[in-house]
């Protein structure tokens, strides 16, 4: 792979949590039980937009087995992941804004009693008009969903950015193409529903076990909503059965479990049903995008003009960050000098949209990769050639000031095209069969943080002793992506020890030092850097001890294969653990810390701090489809991917991320869509009716790495969690165009839409001939 000679890094490593998950031994939040523990359930609104006139909980309180009932007026403190713009309450206060919003909660001796009690809560509402689309919410005279919203009407946020001179660029272009694209309302569908267990001890300290991506944000939110000192709150992340961004915001059940536990004086578990998960939502924003791209005679991009309307649902969430992410994601992975961006996020009476794998990137990527494909075809060039010409080189700075310190995107394009036979197939397959190419990228961490402090974004502490071995303490959260394994592998490589001997303690605010959490594909680079520095600092302490034992200078020592030895004279070696013993005998406990903060960058425009990343991962995909032109079924048969994730730390884990990304993106392209009734009710909030791909739908997947090593990253690594989903959807859409000559601009491509489009095409061809 790379020229680097590693013992642990880059070798497929079985995760320690793997066998435990297979055997049901890995502990998830719902496995946690305490004596006297109660079960909390949530009463949800059966109206999408209304003022709450009254809530009568007396009958519920009177039900035997009910220990506490809670309503919104008892917890009127607003919170939000964007602390400057809090919009949410643990339970609706004065108003409900979507059908299924939490309005009251009950803790009872068992779930059945709690659910029965919910039916006894009587709520009187004064109905308000329901807006299920941005169009309705923006109509003149529409009622404001958030009365204190600073922006006009139901605009949650709006912003523009302008670089270069787009109008001038289009004027001088050889060809300009504009289309309107629409993305769909989709949910992450992580396997494990939200679950939190809260317990107050006799001294009033709160312990909460939850399935979250962001224990430290949860920590601040709990302190705010419960009005407690942070040092009295202990957040413990349990096993996490997937998050994909959906657990990257505080969820109502977490706050409700803590509030109910305090009120009832007993531990309380609040477990969501799948329907609750769909209502908590935070899935991908549907965006209607009018996008215009110009090229010159050579196919070089002259400018991009983007106008997007995001359907945000009822609350703020990550919305404003995602809005600026879409702005940042217009530039790469191509070199573009003129870019105009305008976007607004609209409140509607639906479950709130938020962060979902590849957030901010997937929608603009869909539009741009589709447009570039069409432009290439229209000007008689191969889409590969056009994309390759415009692709950024080994390093790059965008007009918006994002600095890419390392990119092998061109290699990704070459490798995916070569491995798939794209050039031999594109435009040459029989009607109904097609191949499509798309590229993409994602950030590996973000320079901007919503955690209101300037402390390092990631920190780690390592303790080494002869009894317990090596323990890495890090606030990073393993949500199933395998970060505990990756961090343990890095420590193992540094110390020259086998991976199995490293223990990783993560996701616990009382035990491990601070980390922002798992999102923005940041953990390998950020927490990895912190762990590497901590390990280096441990070695700094050990080497002088070894040096004296061996009689050589410290700078020629290396730790490898259980030994510390001189690189010049291998026979001068000493057992690693012997050195540890001598160090501790002489100095006491052996610990060291390390931390990491990405370089801060900004610019002179609105949103300028958002979207910067220390480094970036890239991916290109060639996707083949087979369309049944009589039934309209689109079958993805093969995806050939080439990815630049830097040095893969645990290659088998990267493969898992890439394959998962492809299947997830394919679901959004072809099947998935949350449907909403006129009254704002979700029509398919179950896995029966909301259709994620099954094992039988998965195409042949040929994923490969391109040779890559980012010298400024820990062991050369970048990211693979969110970059590989970027090309998936446009590659499918481009393949469908190649197969039947129809340019779809709206997700998902259902069989019905295919048949309708084929009819339309026939009609038009008939008119032409």
């Amino acid at each position: 792979m790379s020229k680097h000679d590693f013992d642990v890094i880059g070798k497929d490593q079985k995760r320690k949590d793997g066998p435990k998950k297979v055997k049901g031994e890995h502990e998830f939040a719902d496995d946690i039980q305490f004596p006297m523990m109660l079960h909390g359930r949530i009463k949800r609104s059966d109206i999408a937009h209304a003022r709450i006139i009254s809530i009568d909980t007396s009958k519920a309180e009177a039900l035997a087995g009910v220990k506490a009932v809670l309503i919104g007026s008892e917890t009127p403190i607003k919170y939000g992941i964007v602390p400057q713009m809090p919009t949410e309450y643990a339970l609706a206060h004065q108003k409900v804004r979507f059908y299924g919003e939490p309005v009251a909660a009950v803790a009872a001796v068992d779930p059945e009693t709690a659910e029965r009690a919910l039916d006894l809560i009587e709520i009187e509402y004064e109905a308000l008009p329901v807006y299920t689309t941005p169009e309705q919410a923006l109509a003149e005279g529409a009622v404001k969903i958030h009365e204190d919203n600073k922006f006009p009407g139901n605009i949650a946020y709006e912003a523009d950015q302008n670089f270069g001179d787009v109008d001038e660029a289009f004027k001088n272009s050889h060809y300009v193409l504009e289309k309107v694209f629409k993305t769909s309302y989709v949910n992450h569908v992580f396997m494990e529903p939200h679950c939190a267990v809260s317990k107050f001890d006799t001294n009033g300290e709160l312990f909460i076990w939850s399935t979250t991506q962001i224990p430290h944000y949860l920590h601040t939110h709990l302190a705010k909503v419960l009005q407690m000192d942070m040092n009295k709150i202990h957040v413990k992340v349990t096993g996490v059965g997937g998050g994909f961004g959906g657990k990257g915001e505080v969820s109502n059940n977490e706050l409700i479990s803590a509030l109910l536990a305090r009120k009832a004086g007993r531990p309380v578990k609040v477990l969501y049903s799948r329907k609750d998960v769909f209502l908590q939502h935070r899935g991908r924003h549907p965006i209607e995008m009018r996008v215009k791209v110009g090229v010159d005679k050579e196919g070089m991009i002259t400018g991009i003009d983007y106008n997007g309307t995001m359907d945000g649902g009822s609350y703020g969430g990550w919305g404003l960050v995602i809005l600026f992410y879409t702005a940042a994601m217009l530039h790469l992975p191509y070199n573009v000098r003129n870019v105009r961006f305008y976007a607004r996020r609209i409140y509607t009476n639906k479950p709130t949209c938020g962060a979902m794998r590849g957030l901010g990137g997937v929608q603009p990527r869909f539009a741009l990769e589709s447009l570039l494909d069409q432009i290439a075809i229209d000007i008689g060039m191969s889409p590969y050639e056009l994309k390759k010409k415009n692709a950024i080189g080994l390093s790059h700075e965008t007009v918006s000031g994002q600095v890419v310190r390392h990119s092998e995107f061109r290699k990704c394009l070459d490798q995916a095209v070569a491995n798939s036979g794209y050039l031999e197939k594109h435009g040459k397959l029989p009607f109904g069969k097609g191949i499509g190419l798309a590229g993409g990228y994602y950030i590996s961490g973000t320079a901007y943080t919503l955690y209101m402090a300037y402390k390092p974004h990631s920190s780690a502490m390592i303790r080494v002793d002869n009894e317990s071995g090596v323990t890495v303490y890090c606030g990073a959260t393993d949500i199933g992506q395998g970060s505990d394994t990756v961090l343990g592998m890095m420590a193992a490589e540094k110390f020259g020890l086998p991976f199995e001997s490293i223990h990783v303690v993560s996701g616990d605010t009382s035990l491990a030092p601070f980390d922002l959490g798992t999102f923005a594909s940041r953990v390998t680079v950020a927490a990895g850097s912190a762990v590497c520095k901590a390990a280096d600092n441990v070695l700094e302490k050990l080497k002088p001890v070894a040096a004296i034992q061996l009689g050589v200078s410290t700078d020629q020592l290396e730790a490898r294969q259980g030994k510390i030895y001189s690189v010049f004279e291998k026979s001068k070696e000493i057992d690693f653990w012997k050195v540890v013993e001598k160090y501790i005998d002489a100095h006491g406990p052996l610990t060291a810390t390390g931390n990491y903060t990405p370089p801060r960058r900004t610019g002179n425009f609105k949103g300028a701090n958002i979207g910067h990343s220390p480094t970036y991962g890239f991916s290109a995909q060639c996707t083949e489809v087979d369309i049944d032109i009589e039934t309209g079924e689109v079958r993805v048969i093969r995806v050939t991917e080439a990815g630049d994730c830097g040095q893969p730390i645990n290659p088998v884990s990267v493969e898992g991320q890439v394959e998962g990304s492809i299947v997830m993106g394919m679901g959004q392209a072809l099947f998935e869509e949350l449907k909403v009734g006129k009254d704002g009710r979700l029509l398919n909030p179950s896995l029966h009716d909301y259709k994620v791909p099954t094992a039988t739908d998965i195409p042949e997947l040929k994923t490969t790495f391109v040779d890559s090593y980012d010298p400024d990253s820990p062991f050369g690594a970048k990211e693979a969690g969110e970059g590989p989903i970027q090309p998936v959807i446009p590659a499918i859409f481009n393949a469908v165009y190649d197969a039947i000559g129809v340019r779809f601009t709206e997700m998902p491509i259902t069989p019905e839409k295919v048949l309708r489009a084929l009819d339309e095409k026939k009609k038009q061809e008939g008119m032409q001939s």
Partner: protein, 297 residues
């Protein structure tokens, strides 16, 4: 999820079951695999006072074949067993195929074919094939039995011809005559775990010279309140030569006899359009099977 409390009985002999069901039938529901019933109870669409679990009744288990009566499948047989049975694969391969496409592996090891037809969903997997086979149902009741052709079993949306106190005991698929075959086609959005947007079972029997239709049955699902046969089309097709006109008549006919609605899974327009395609493909498959058998013989 909480549901209304119910009592639960699990008889161990058919006699015990029959007398219990006769006594308590009014308030009771038969529980086979529970993969439909428990969903309805949890969604509070049903609140029976008593569930009688029939999964321990060995008298209701098993698959057998004899050349006179054909294939007999007892009501309590799991879908997964039907899917895997060598007898079913030999004598009713389309049924094995339909069974293999019902739900997931986990569901198939719980679910029964009796549950599938007694639930009487118009989108169910096995009814089109059973109708194509013109299967006979053996219906039990304390101290008695009657038989009913499956074509008279589905009365309307989720309503069957079972009288109070009656239960389904067995399916009997008559032996297929020479030069005949059954095929099953379905369409869902994804490839598994789907409630079909459309499905069709086709039976085709050719005349002795092998050129024309001596008998045909076309059973369609998801295009009306129950699974039903396109009987007018069948009449028109009988005696026709196998040629383009035959296919055109079949496809045009089923579209005319279908009366689909728009729902979350598909529009009526789509269903009308694709039911003809599935019909043609099912009939082509029947012809292929008949031809390949002829070659072998």
């Amino acid at each position: 999820m909480h549901c209304e409390p119910f009592e639960y009985e699990k008889p161990v002999s058919l006699r015990e079951f029959e007398s219990l069901y006769a006594a308590k039938g009014e308030d009771a529901k038969i529980l086979a695999g529970g993969t439909d019933l428990m969903v309805l109870i949890k969604e509070k669409l049903l609140a029976p006072r008593l569930l009688i679990d029939i999964s321990d009744l060995h008298e209701l288990q098993g698959i057998s074949f004899d050349s006179r009566q054909g294939l007999t499948i007892m009501a309590g047989t799991k879908i997964a067993e039907i899917e895997r049975s060598a007898l079913v694969k030999e004598h009713a391969p389309a049924l094995a195929y339909a069974a293999a496409n019902l739900g997931s592996n986990q569901v198939r090891w719980m679910a029964t074919m009796a549950g599938n037809i007694c639930h009487a969903s118009p989108a169910a997997e096995t009814p089109p094939v059973l109708l194509a086979h013109d299967c006979e149902l053996i219906i039990g009741k304390q101290g008695g039995e009657r038989t009913l052709p499956i074509s008279r079993f589905f009365l309307s949306y989720r309503k069957t011809a079972l009288e109070p106190g009656e239960y389904l005991k067995a399916f009997r698929l008559p032996p297929l005559p020479e030069r005949s075959a059954v095929a099953y086609r379905f369409k869902g959005l994804r490839r598994a775990m789907e409630i079909d947007m459309l499905n069709i079972g086709a039976y085709l029997e050719l005349s002795e010279e092998g050129q024309s239709v001596s008998d045909i049955r076309l059973a369609m699902g998801s295009v009306g309140p129950t699974t039903y046969r396109a009987t007018a089309t069948e009449q028109r097709l009988k005696g026709m030569q196998i040629d383009d006109e035959f296919f055109a008549t079949a496809c045009g006919g089923v579209v005319q006899e279908a009366s689909p609605i728009d729902d979350v899974r598909a529009s009526a327009e789509y269903r009308n359009r694709v039911i003809g395609v599935l019909t043609r493909r099912a009939l082509e498959e029947c012809l292929e099977i008949i031809a390949s058998r002829g070659n072998k013989a």
